[in-house]
Symmetry: C2
Subunit: 341 residues, 2 copies
DNA sequence: ACGGTTACTGTAAACGGTTACATTATTTCA
DNA sequence: TGAAATAATGTAACCGTTTACAGTAACCGT
């Protein structure tokens, strides 16, 4: 009659049954020291027979490695995350690691610490503003492996980072609306405040206006939050209240918001692109089948996920690298901007 | 000069600095025994000052709880997963748990055990065919908490399950194509083999044909795998090779596949819905803005994720329940079937 | 033949928490 | 007022691994 609280089979049970010490079993499992042919075979049998699975927590505690990678997102409201997750997950599975996904609102006022970090993962992929700079600097100072995704490191810190080119391509896209389609009152939907993609896109937007001698009008900036539903609401609100403010095009911030914007425009009987041109960003799978087909910027989102994860594993294996990697983007011209119509 | 291998601060450090025992610290952290006002305040200070974060693995090992829920998917190739994940993640965060997401190809021939299970999670959400029946039965027999998502339990096992109504609604939808739009050669794109949604939809499809006296034609069944790209390829291949086989409508299996199908039809210059009607399933966010707007079945995917997770927590708290929950679905008529044109 | 590797194995101390059990001081209540 | 319950705390065993250290036996080169 044992005092054991648990019913699960442990390494000791295996060791006893196979007539060896637990150390030998552990070494065989981890293949980090030679074991005699005979013992190996016996262990294989016993382990299968007893359905032994090593207890992860015990392993983590003893080895000080979790074999878990964390992905910190700020929300899960965007189809954008499917290709991203897919890229990340593929690499992680290949490496035999596990993926923990958490959403966290990095906010100075957020009292609770991030749910994932050094205490439960070996490394973190931090998307966008998933962590505030302070946390980032702190973790980095403690030598915790991280790779930033769709954001660059805070000044004076060097953390590897993978993102896409935003500024120039947005400049080009807005420039296209102006030069080719004669638009001059172009609305811009911001993403979340402090979101780097959004910031850079805004820079590109403004520089294109400036380059074309078009005055910037604060009234044409809306906060779409890169969220389909919020974009819809904010656009809907604008159309209800502010009909007096003229506009002839919308840069929706991202493709997901484009859906909300299109819905609102549609509801208010605007014709796209004849009256209002609409362009997005990301080139999500549905973009070419929206009505009208969406002119947008193709971003290699799955590659971002894949490369970021590979770099994180590089870090775990002590291959240092601190460069910011910016993947190229390209404009896909479709009908919503007025092309191909 | 200590022998400590790690540099991180432990509960013992906190205890020493606060002048109490580790037991007291532990109890205060877990709020599972009263602690004097004075000690509480001192601990708060010390813990913040030392930036103490409990080591997850140690906690798990000692308490035999991981505070981690696993979500087992068969892939991450579908925008469908965003609302699902969102529903799941919301509940998990509220409970202070963590979410581990894994893809696993449940296959008799798959030698490696599932990456998540009793050894690293407190419970599992098993999507579709994420696990083979044997594994399911096995884990269930060991009393491991699980909730099935978009599938029902194998015969003679009772595991709670949350899914959506497939058969009747598909019957209705196909019936609509036949009765209202006069279609008689309706193509059906299957999902992954053994995928229950797909199987049930097929049943509904066939029963609608039968009810209308239309003979079933095996040639009109394609394997779209519920995957946008595969659906495109298979449709594209069909249109290239099989032009002799007439058809006048496509039930694409799900909305994601609808995108692939639309692309292929478009490329081959078919007009939708005039020549070919197209209908999907799920009503993903983009469905109403496809070109043409997609007639589809609205599935409460986020609710499925939320409810399944809530039921899993119910299980963790020993509230038994073994019923199969089937959430209602409804047809959303848009233009791609021929309505509203 | 002998010191030095190499192959294989075992013992026991971590790893960083939780918690059963024990203890003392303080209330509560018949 | 005395017994019992409650509050607050400490001691130490335990959770299931990994791994430093130690040891034995076989092998190797000179």
């Amino acid at each position: 009659m044992s005092r054991r609280r648990s019913s699960s089979v442990t390494i000791r049970d295996v060791a006893r049954k196979a007539g060896v010490s637990v150390a030998t079993v552990s070494r065989y499992i981890n293949r980090n020291a030679p074991v005699s042919q005979e013992v190996a075979e016996r262990l294989d049998e016993v382990m299968i027979e007893m359905r032994y699975v090593p207890h992860a927590a015990a392993r983590h505690l003893a080895s000080r490695k979790t074999r878990v990678i964390g992905l910190l997102l700020n929300n899960l409201h965007n189809d954008f995350f499917v290709p991203l997750l897919n890229g990340v997950e593929g690499v992680i599975r290949k490496k035999g690691y596990n993926l923990i996904v958490a959403t966290y609102h990095a906010d100075i006022r957020n009292e609770t610490p991030p749910p994932i970090g050094p205490h439960n993962t070996d490394g973190l992929l931090v998307f966008s503003d998933g962590l505030v700079d302070d946390d980032l600097i702190n973790l980095n100072a403690r030598g915790f492996p991280m790779v930033l995704v769709h954001r660059t490191p805070p000044p004076s810190v060097s953390i590897p980072s993978v993102t896409v080119e935003n500024t120039e391509i947005t400049h080009k896209l807005v420039d296209h609306l102006i030069k080719v389609h004669g638009k001059r009152r172009i609305m811009f939907l911001r993403g979340p405040i402090h979101q780097e993609d959004s910031l850079r896109r805004e820079v590109g937007y403004k520089s294109a206006l400036r380059a074309n001698g078009i005055p910037f009008d604060e009234n044409l900036i809306l906060n779409g939050e890169f969220d389909r539903d919020i974009a819809y609401q904010v656009m809907h609100g604008f159309l209800n209240n502010g009909r007096q403010i003229a506009f002839d095009a919308v840069f929706t911030g991202d493709d997901d918001s484009a859906i909300g914007v299109l819905r609102a425009l549609h509801q208010h009987d605007y014709r796209v692109p004849e009256e209002i041109a609409v362009v997005g960003f990301d080139d999500l799978g549905f973009a070419s089948f929206l009505s009208p087909p969406l002119t947008t910027v193709r971003a290699p989102t799955e590659a971002v996920g894949r490369i970021a994860t590979e770099r994180l594993f590089g870090l775990l294996e002590n291959q240092l690298s601190d460069e910011v990697m910016i993947l190229p983007t390209e404009i896909i011209f479709r009908r919503s901007c007025g092309c191909q119509s």
